[in-house]
Structures are given as C-alpha cells and as structure tokens.
Homo-oligomer: 310 residues x 2
Amino acid sequence: MRFLVVGVGAIGGAYLAFLSKAGHEAFGLVKKGRKLDRIRVSGIWGEFEIPVRTIDDVNGLPWKPDLIIISVKSYDTEKALEQVKPVVGENTFLMNAQNGYGNYEKSAELFGEDRVILARVIFGSRVVSAGEIEITVCADDVVIGNPAGLIDENFLKNLAEVFTKSGIPTRYDREVYKYLWDKIIYNCALNPLGALLEANYGMLAQNPHTREIMDRIIDEVFEVAEKAGIESFWKSSEEYKKVFYERLIPPTSAHYPSMLADIKKGKTEIDALNGAIWKLGRKHGIDTPTNELITKLVKAKEEFNRTGLK
Amino acid sequence: MRFLVVGVGAIGGAYLAFLSKAGHEAFGLVKKGRKLDRIRVSGIWGEFEIPVRTIDDVNGLPWKPDLIIISVKSYDTEKALEQVKPVVGENTFLMNAQNGYGNYEKSAELFGEDRVILARVIFGSRVVSAGEIEITVCADDVVIGNPAGLIDENFLKNLAEVFTKSGIPTRYDREVYKYLWDKIIYNCALNPLGALLEANYGMLAQNPHTREIMDRIIDEVFEVAEKAGIESFWKSSEEYKKVFYERLIPPTSAHYPSMLADIKKGKTEIDALNGAIWKLGRKHGIDTPTNELITKLVKAKEEFNRTGLK
C-alpha cells in the first residue's frame, strides 16, 4: 500500500517510521524546510532508526496514495485537507488520526463520508527532537472505522492488520465514533484545567473545586451530545463520571496534559475540545457556560504566551 | 487618640508608622513572634524610620483604644474581631481598612453598626521586608464613613483630619459604601484573571476573550448588587464598563494585581471578591456562573500552590 502521512509530528512520525520500516511505500508531508531523511524511534515499542522520505509539497509525490493519514494538530486540519486535494485519486482514502471533534467531520464534508476513515489514537508519543520520537504509553489499540458505515468492513479489517503488522496495534470497530467521543469527554475535562492550573490529573480529581468544574464540563458535554444525536458508551453523565474518577483517572493520576506544553507554546487544540462543545451547543440552542469560559481562558493564555506580551 | 492597628502588613504598617510618627498613642497587634520595634517607610509619601510598639496578645495593651483599625487580609477578619473583643470598651470604635465585601458586615454584626467605620483605602503599599514598607501609589484619599449613618459626622470629619495630619490623606464621605463597592467591582473584574493568567490590566482589557469574561463578571456583580439593594455610583453595568475600559484601565494598564503574588503564596482574598458575589447571588436566588467558576479556579490554584503538590 502507498501512504501519505500529513504532519510528521509525534503521531505522524510514528506512522511514517513504522510503515517505512515494514516496507510500505510511504511519504511524509512536512512544513517548508522541515524535511527529514530518517526517524529515530525509542520507547515501549522498541528502538530503531529508519530512513524515511518526506516532501514539503504534494507535487513531489510520485503516485496517488491509497491512504492519506491526517495527523496534523486540529487547528491545521482545514489547511492539510486543502493541501492534499491534488493527490486524492479515485481510490484514495483518508484517515484522521487526530484528537478532538471536527476533524473527521471536515474531511467527510470535503471528500465524502465513504472516503474517510476515523482513527481513535490512544498511544502516547512525543517529539524528543527533530526526527526523534519516543512512544511513551499505549492505553489501547488504535481503533479504526467509518462512522457512516459506508466503507467495506473487510477493507478496514485488512487495513487494521497492515498497521498492526507494521508495529502499531490496531483493530477495526464499527463503533469507532463512540471511542473517539470517549476520548473527547476525557480530554475536555482534564486538558484545559491541567493547562491553566499546571496540575496533573490526580490533583484535578482530588481538589474539590476542580472536581466540581470537571463535573460541570462533563454534564455539558453529555447534554450537547444528546441534543446533537451523538451516541456514547454511557447511559448518562453520572455513569461516565463514576468510571472517570474511579477507573480512568487513577492509573494516569501523575500525568500532565500535553495541552500544558501547547499552551506555553501559544497554541492548543482547545477549539476541537471544549471550544467544539461550546460551538455545537450554540448550534443546538444549549448554553455551555463552563466549556465557554474555559475555552476563553485557554485562548487568552495562548495569546498572552504567543505574543510574548507577558 | 489611642489606636490599635490589627495586622501590621502593607496597609496596617502604614497606619502604625504614620500615626506613631504624628505622636499618637498606637499599638500594632501582630502574629505570635512577629513583633517589630521600628518601621521604615519609603515611597511617594517620603522616607523615614520610626520606633513603633507592637504586641502579639491584646492583654499587653495598657488601655482601651479609641479606634481599632482592622487591616488584616479579609480571610482573617473573623479571627481578628474575636481577638480584639476583650479590649473593645464603651467608647471604642472599629474601622475596617480592608478590601472586598464582608469585612464591614462582619464587624457591624459583632459590634453594632453604630460602632464600625468603613474605610475605602486606595493607596498602594507593599512590604519590602519585615518592618519595611513602601508607599507605591495613591489613586485618591482614603474615604471613611459609617454606611448606616449612625456615627456623628463631626467625629468622622475630625478622624479624617487626624489621619490626614498624620500623613495619610483622608476625607469623610457619607457615601463611603459606594466607594468601597466601586473598588469591589474593579477588583472582581481584574484581580482573579490577572492572577490566573499572569496578565496585567492592559493585557486583560485588550484581549477579546478576557474582555468578554470581565464583561460577564461585571454584569453579574451589578445584577447581584441590585437584587441585594446595594447602591453604586453607576446607573447600569454598561455605564460602568465604559468608565472601566476608557478611564480606569488606561492609567493602570501595566499593573499586575497583588492577587498574583498572593495566589503564588497560596492564599488570596477571592472569598471577599468574586466568591462574595457568588455567595450573595445564591442568597438572592441569582446565578453567577462566571464569578463562581473564577472563584473555584482561584481556590484550586491557591490549594495547589499551598500544598506544594505541584
């Protein structure tokens, strides 16, 4: 199979490295002047260094890819989709391997629901330095699927097999959207508070004030999801909160959200998390004062850090 | 006149130093082991060093004071009022020279509305080191008065004269409560956001996100005040906001709130500001989601810094 990986950061870098190592034809699309000719991988999935091919212009691609993996940050999704348009052929599929709400939706709107695969990525990876990534943790397989149910299941199962054999454990599940949504709820509750207060997940869950705020965030997410017709694995916000505090938080209590590093750099994925909930709520006539205020605080702090006014 | 100054910090230290220098009988009540025998003053009102008398137990006071000046932080008001009970004589008045809502109210409840003077202090002072304070800025006279109108105006005018002659410009105004409330609105809008985002007043007013948050805070404060029967100088929230952004912010745009230093030390006066608005709103059946969430965020950050969990 021929792959184009758009955005060679922590996640995209992992895809490019593992696919290349397994002998697949793969290119990475990088920003101008950011070309790499090898990636060094360390961490829980082993250590290796592998030559890779990257381009900073899709016109440099020698073929139309079978699969385009979108792994840019959410705020760059629209730009990435525009960029790859010229190389999307009749048989090209896209796969959003990103966080948050809105990435799959944007891809599906532009290329059709029957061409877009959604991946719920829940392994952790970080860029140690240019061309060097570390796989830090793996909570579960990557889950892939087509939310609209319009892509042949055997094709998706084979694709999962290709990734798994390449070294990225992956399975197909028709309920992929629920998996993604699960991660969205979790990230909406923890990421912005961790970033604003420089607190880890355990601190946020233990402190009565942040716990109340997270409860509100989760309640609002559930209210919006219900109104928007988005299904989740949970019967109610209360059921989710029980699992959240009792099962999900404890093993990750020492973890700080990556949004903390992002906010310091002046740009976060808040618009694909709490900002998306706020926007979706507005669309459906639902007030989300907590998600709204949290979004504004994160955006303000991003801007203060970005402009260096501080 | 005989004065007892309770809390010899930035403001109490100024009162103790200037009253002592003017030859008044004055004692400072300090925390155990924090006695001082002199205060050094610098800044806009001149430089001097003056011997002072401090006690860490009211039983050490040789007389019943004519005026007890309460200048502890708002979260210590109740404790301070308990402490001074034994030395409150028939002719003793109290004066709250503090920030925020609730200090005068607590004093009046305990000692009677006819015994408590309210002071709106709007000069800036900071503790440089133990026994050393700097007067940094003076926006206006201290305004003193009795909100209930139950204390003789001539007595209050004379008292203002005593302070002014001692070096702390002070005037009597029967509308002192409106002056205090003005400062409360201003501090509710700016202090917690400045502390949470490490931003100065100009940044907060320029950034569209923090500006929207401040607008909401101010709207909620006005709604609560109206319902609670608290009068202000302003016809409406809109009128105040215009003055706030156009006249009040510009000359102080480079200023960071002292709550920023306080939050780092793990204790702020949030309960006498946004927390008091939230509480007063609850009492009157009014939702104040913005003040509530901001209060919780500040309290969480305080606790994270205090416990050193971070």
